[in-house]
């Protein structure tokens, strides 16, 4: 009951924040240069104008940035992202020669650096590396931290362009990408991150430039290790056994760093790349129940609120609610199902407990707690798992690999749905709008009208682009997984059988949908996975962005058909059902065979005899 309450409060707070934040973001996206609500324009307007002057963004007499068509907009986004990718790659490769590296970490291996650079440029934030042992503070802040902002801004900018395409009539322009990127970063992401970072620091999240701390252990530890010669061979005792020596440990190294600032944007920008290796399961990254609540709230906050922004910008708030309702209609049942499955626990362990075999199961388990922080428990862990995979966040506060088979299936499937149930900031909604185009097309035919959305006719060009946007992630996940299971380089799983298959499928579902969460268990910091997953992330991001912008351009140029009672309304419950059905059917039909061979069979084996 307490668990259910945690979920209900979470949803209530989330939905309550949708309107104010959504309204605020719409003002930012529609505002003039140097103007933003809540006095932010006055406070930061000089910075915006400075950026424009520096980048040569011109404004017209009305102080609005001069806009472009979709092609220059897309070119700008791609160039900007390419520069971001190169910068992160260079920082990683050169970090040993640069300041801000108190731990003295070496250069990152080339393929791992490629993977990470793609990962942070594409808002995936898949991490094949362990943060505290691989990346210098400078790399984390200037490379990864900055990309956390810019990749999120890219998503919102592309969404803004698509919304303008839907809202405008007979227009040749869809916005100015440089102005959008600047305003989103300056007025939305920075202030929100600042607030959240301060809140997190208050809960004990670290924010420091000090080198890692050495602390004395309260209870010293000792262990034995083999003695090796200079060549690395273990020395042998006369009786043939290995020589060992006992090592006494009295102090521990506690990794520190400027974590709070990066964690705030990691959650708000649906990035998910943790400062520390175990992400938000780390006590210095996520120390308290309140910090956990704030972070998991931040995961879905902007994607949910953007639905309201959408309704506001197309001057029909019902449309925003409808899309949000469709997202919630998929998310809420899956959220509660994850919780229920994890709370129910593992029937095999229950069976052992019932037989009183206290040696192997000392206590009756309160659900499946393997891989979960006892600080958070089942409900908060399940809540995070559902939210982080519904949004393309990918941060974790528990290890999804240890979930029950079906409990782990849900996060995987939420990603496979194309990251459109909330999804990434901006990218989730523009992905969902591509599904809306498909749904509107079929629904429009069913009521006997050439399909239209918000008065814009859906024609072959839009269908083609929407088809590409929906197809690309599906193809990446299926083909990527097929390649991985077909070659030995792919077999770096920690489990055999269906669970091993699930680990591989999860990795490609995550990369192919720009989520970034890991199932754990799969050793992904290998040349094969670094390159294969890097390519999956790259294609999944930009092969969707370009078609989306093409649709934006094509829609903007169209006239608006006035609505009549023969027009299919897209804000009604019937249409929401239709949209949900399209998302689920495409997601289900594509991945049912693969899921059957992974988590489904694992579950059936678990519950069977």
């Amino acid at each position: 009951m307490n668990g259910v309450l945690q979920l209900v409060i979470y949803l209530a707070v989330l939905v309550a924040l949708v309107k104010p934040l959504g309204w605020f973001m719409a003002r930012v996206l529609e505002g003039k240069a140097g103007e933003a609500p809540l006095g932010l324009g006055r406070a930061l307007g000089w910075l915006e104008r400075g950026v424009y002057a520096l980048c040569g963004v011109k404004t017209d007499a009305d102080r609005r940035p001069v806009e472009t068509g979709w092609k220059p907009y897309a070119a700008g986004i791609l160039i900007f992202n390419a520069i971001g990718f190169l910068a992160v790659y260079a920082l990683q490769r050169l970090q040993h020669t640069l300041p801000g590296n108190p731990a003295g970490l070496g250069a990152v291996e080339a393929r791992s650096a490629f993977n990470t650079a793609v990962s942070f440029a594409t808002n995936t934030n898949w991490q094949g590396y362990g943060g505290e042992t691989t990346m210098s503070y400078l790399t984390q802040m200037l490379g990864l931290g900055v990309q956390n902002f810019l990749s999120a801004a890219t998503g919102i900018a592309v969404l803004a362009a698509l919304i303008r395409g839907l809202a405008r009539r007979s227009s040749s322009t869809i916005g100015n990408c440089w102005a959008d990127l600047t305003r989103v970063t300056l007025y939305i992401l920075l202030p929100l991150s600042m607030l959240l970072a301060l809140a997190l620091v208050s809960q004990g999240v670290v924010q420091t430039f000090r080198e890692p701390a050495k602390v004395a252990l309260t209870v010293p530890l000792s262990y034995s290790e083999p003695v090796k010669n200079d060549a690395g061979d273990t020395l042998k005792n006369p009786d043939g056994s290995d020589q060992t020596r006992t090592v006494q440990v009295t102090e521990q190294t506690i990794a520190l760093g400027p974590a709070a600032s990066q964690i705030a944007i990691k959650q708000l920008g649906t990035n998910g790349g943790g400062f520390f290796n175990v992400n938000s399961a780390h006590p210095l990254e996520n120390p308290t129940a309140l910090s956990d609540f704030l972070q998991v709230l931040a995961i879905l906050l902007i994607p949910a609120a953007l639905c309201w922004t959408f309704g506001e910008m197309v001057r029909d708030r019902r449309q925003g609610w409808a899309v949000l309702a469709a997202m919630l209609a998929i998310f809420v049942p899956l959220l509660f199902a994850t919780y229920a499955l994890e709370a129910a626990g593992n029937p095999r362990i229950d069976a052992i407990v019932a037989h009183g075999d206290s040696a192997s199961a000392p206590d009756a388990p309160a659900g499946n707690l393997e891989g979960k922080e006892a600080r958070f428990g089942v409900a908060a862990s399940a809540r995070w798992a559902a939210a982080t995979t519904a949004a393309s966040n990918g941060s974790v506060n528990s290890m999804h690999d240890s979930y029950t088979p079906l409990g782990g299936l849900i996060p995987m499937w939420l990603m496979q749905l194309g990251e459109v149930v909330f999804g990434g900031v901006g990218s989730g909604l523009y992905g969902m709008l591509m599904f809306v185009i498909v749904a509107v097309f079929v629904a429009g035919l069913m009521v006997g009208r050439a399909p239209e959305y918000l008065g814009k006719k859906i024609e072959p060009f839009e269908m083609k682009m929407a088809a590409i946007a929906v197809l690309v992630p599906c193809a990446l996940v299926l083909v990527g997984t097929a390649v991985a299971v077909a070659i030995p380089e792919g077999y770096t799983t920690s489990n055999p059988g269906p669970h091993g298959f699930s680990q591989i499928l999860y990795a490609f579902s995550s990369a192919g949908n720009n989520n970034g969460s890991a199932f754990a268990g799969l050793t992904a910091n290998t040349p094969f996975y670094n390159i294969a997953l890097g390519l999956a992330m790259w294609f999944s991001r930009y092969w969707i962005i370009v078609p989306v912008l093409a649709v934006a351009g094509s829609l903007a140029a169209k006239r608006v058909t006035p609505t009549s009672s023969g027009t299919l309304p897209t804000h009604t419950p019937v249409f929401v059902v239709m949209l949900v059905a399209v998302v689920i059917i495409v997601g289900a039909l594509t991945f049912v065979p693969a899921l059957a061979l992974g988590p489904v069979v694992e579950h059936l084996q678990l519950v069977g005899k």
Binding site: V447, R449, A467, L471, L478, P498, A588, L589, F591, V601
Partner: protein
């Protein structure tokens, strides 16, 4: 309706249509034909592949751990059936059109034409030839097929008109039943709105001089034959978009099925590593192919072209010829309907609706006089006065001859443009010792008449006349020979019965109706209100019509209109759906994208319905096709992978025999195409309710229905298949 039309609507599976369709279904196995339909082309290719696998099996080189070669062959056969059934659906739809085309072609015999030599006839001389001149007109006899646009021909009674054209001179009655199916002859004459003639029709009386308007092969009849035969098969944008959606789904399932092979090999490897005694074998290509064909949208893919052809055919059944499929689809999308008032909304003529006596005359007196003056008046207005007098004052209709007295007949004074009044002169009789003269006509004409007869024009009548005009009706003043004004008859436009309901229906469909009339705004407003149209355009000129259409189109609306006159041509060309009346001019027919052979202006409503039905059938069957896949997964996945993971048997909720489950799914997938052919040909029923309710209804029927039906169907087929003992 003619025999041509009744013949072309036989019951859907009549042997006359089925037999040639079966032959045609095999002929369409040609890969070049299949290539036009990406979904069915995939089925065609895997049918070839499975056949080869079966053959390989029989010569001992079959797939390891797979089905018996017999079972593979049976699956291959059913895959071929899937392609054949889709071909059959298309052939059936085409067959219905062909039957009609054949009857049209009968009228397209090559005729000898009487070509008028250049210089022998000129329209510019302003001289009307007399009938006698025609015989002296020099003509040469040429085959009709050699006539080019601009040639001038003479057609006389008994001749077949050699090509489409415009009457330059003459009046003739023409039998157009070959085209319209209407056996009553129609009048064709030079000038005005009845000047166009259609090749293949026959002149029954008199003669016509016709300027040919179409080159051979592009005549109206040619276009019509081409359309009903489906020769012009270019896809509409909407079909292209649907093709993209279906191609996308096909690619997804192609990926899902092909990647299953490495997944399966991996799973088998893992299973064998864990249990060396395991007999697990990777999934066979046959199974993957069967799964693929079951998943890709073959149902809609197979029926798509049948739906299109049948949609066009339904239009032909309604006696409308469209020049392109695009126009039919656009009809489903129409937002604004421009309708001519006269003939569409109102009856062509005005009718008497009230009597207003003046200057002390009683209503009965007025009605009596009005009736007397109209007895011999055969115009609809005149008839309506007689009818009204009987309805209101029970004044019996009298025989004109009975009004004569003592051998002197009553004389009817007909209406002339000069006098602008009509009436009757009764002879001196016992009833009318002084005889009686009654006149009715326009207010001005009667005032002049009254003055002439020594009376004073009635001021009261003038007031009533003004009042009636303000209402939009036409006043007729009645006076007698003594210079006394008896009263005023109100003639009103009568709105057709039931038309208001049809407009309400259109409004529910989201279509705005606009009445076009030459009347003044006052009259127009009154009729518009009565008919229940949404808007009207009064004092309409061709320019005003064109401007109105452009304005609506600027606002993003799709405009449909009907027209028949040459002055309608610019507006017809501008409208998105332009239905020309067959009785109209050649210019109107060329400007429009549809021709209504019945020349019935309310046909537009029917056309809109057909357009919507076409789209709805497509959408509903797409939904049905995709919803079917869920059950197929439950049938095939457990059967395919139970050797690797026996636990997956729990997904076999239909309790199918694992050996035949895949075959049963393939059979269901093929048979459902045949089952849905009647729906594809007839079209999904359209009900004029608002879009949201329609969507809810169709989602329930075709979406939820599509989920449930295959569970039952596959189970049934599996039970039947297992009655044959050959599989075990």
């Amino acid at each position: 309706m003619s025999s041509a039309n009744t013949q072309s609507a036989p019951s859907i599976f009549s042997p006359a249509l089925v037999r040639p369709a079966i032959g045609s279904a095999f002929a369409k196995l040609d890969p070049r034909v299949q290539l036009r339909n990406p979904v069915m082309f995939v089925v065609w290719m895997v049918s070839v592949l499975t056949t080869l696998l079966a053959v390989a099996g029989f010569v001992g080189r079959g797939e390891q751990g797979g089905y018996s070669s017999t079972l593979v062959l049976v699956i291959a056969l059913w895959l071929w059936f899937t392609v054949l059934f889709a071909n059959f659906a298309e052939a059936m739809a085409e067959g219905r059109g062909k039957a009609q085309a054949a009857s049209l072609r009968k009228s397209k015999r090559d005729v000898q034409a009487k070509k008028v030599g250049a210089g022998h006839w000129s329209s510019g001389d302003g001289q009307r030839h007399k009938a006698t001149d025609i015989t002296s007109l020099k003509t040469e006899s040429v085959p009709g097929g050699t006539l080019r646009k601009g040639d001038i021909v003479l057609v006389q009674a008994g001749d077949t008109i050699p090509g489409d054209g415009e009457v330059l001179e003459g009046v003739a009655s023409v039998n157009e039943s070959a085209v319209t199916g209407e056996s009553a002859p129609v009048i064709r004459e030079a000038g005005g709105d009845r000047s166009s003639v259609v090749g293949g029709t026959q002149v029954l009386s008199d003669w016509l001089i016709v300027r040919i308007a179409a080159n051979p092969g592009s005549s109206f009849l040619d276009r019509m034959i081409a359309m009903v035969e489906g020769a012009k098969r270019q896809k509409t944008p909407n079909e292209i978009a649907l093709d993209i959606l279906l191609a996308k789904l096909t690619i997804i399932f192609l990926l899902a099925c092909t990647t299953l092979l490495p997944y399966s090999i991996y799973a088998v490897m893992q299973t064998r590593a864990a249990d060396t005694a395991s007999t697990a074998a990777p999934v066979t290509v046959t199974v993957l192919v069967a799964l693929l064909v079951c998943l890709i949208p073959t149902t809609i893919g197979g029926l798509l072209s049948a739906i299109r052809i049948a949609g066009m055919d339904r239009l032909v059944q309604a006696n409308v010829i469209a020049t392109s499929g695009r126009a039919v689809e656009a009809a489903g999308d129409v937002d604004v309907l421009l309708l001519d008032k006269t003939g569409t909304i109102t009856f062509g003529n005005r009718m008497a609706s009230a009597f207003y006596p003046v200057d002390g005359a009683s209503a009965e007196q007025l009605a009596d006089a009005a009736q007397l003056s109209s007895l011999a008046d055969e115009t609809p207005e005149g008839r309506s006065i007689v009818v009204l007098a009987k309805q209101k004052y029970n004044i019996r209709e009298r025989d004109m001859h009975a009004l004569g007295f003592d051998g002197k007949p009553a004389t009817f004074v007909p209406f002339t443009a000069n006098t602008r009044m009509s009436g009757v002169d009764l002879p001196v009789s016992t009833q009318y010792p002084l005889g009686r003269q009654i006149r009715k006509g326009s207010a001005d004409a009667i005032e002049a008449y009254v003055s002439r007869m020594g009376g004073t024009p009635s001021a009261q009548a003038r007031d009533i006349v003004n009042e009636i005009s303000r209402r939009g009706s036409t006043p007729l003043v009645v006076a007698d020979g003594k210079g006394k004004t008896l009263g005023v008859i109100e003639l009103k436009d009568i709105v057709k019965g039931g038309i208001a309901e049809r407009f309400a229906e259109l409004r529910r469909m989201g279509i705005k109706t606009v009445m076009i009339t030459g009347d003044n705004p006052v009259t127009a407003a009154a009729i518009a209100a009565e008919a229940g149209v949404d808007d009207f355009l009064a004092q309409a000129t061709p320019e005003a019509k064109l401007k109105l259409i452009r304005e609506y189109q600027q606002g993003g609306r799709l405009v449909a209109m009907t027209g028949d006159g040459t002055n309608d041509a610019p507006a017809l060309a501008q409208a998105d759906v332009a239905v020309a009346m067959n009785s109209g001019t050649q210019a109107a027919k060329e400007a429009g994208n549809m021709v209504d052979l019945d020349s019935n202006p309310t046909k537009l409503i029917e056309i809109v319905r057909i357009g919507k039905q076409l789209l709805m059938t497509r959408g509903s069957l797409t939904t049905f096709s995709i919803a079917n896949d869920v059950a197929k997964y439950f049938a095939i996945i457990p059967a395919a992978f139970m050797s690797t993971y026996p636990a997956l048997g729990a997904l076999n909720i239909m309790r199918l025999n694992p050996d035949t489950a895949i075959l049963s799914s393939v059979i269901f997938n093929a048979l459902i195409i045949v089952v849905l052919i009647p729906l594809a040909l007839r079209g999904v029923k359209y009900r004029p309710v608002e879009a949201s309710r329609l969507l809810g209804h169709n989602l329930l029927v075709y979406g939820v229905g599509g989920l449930i039906v295959p569970f039952i169907g596959i189970k049934l087929i599996d039970v039947l298949v297992n009655l044959l003992p050959v599989w075990s």
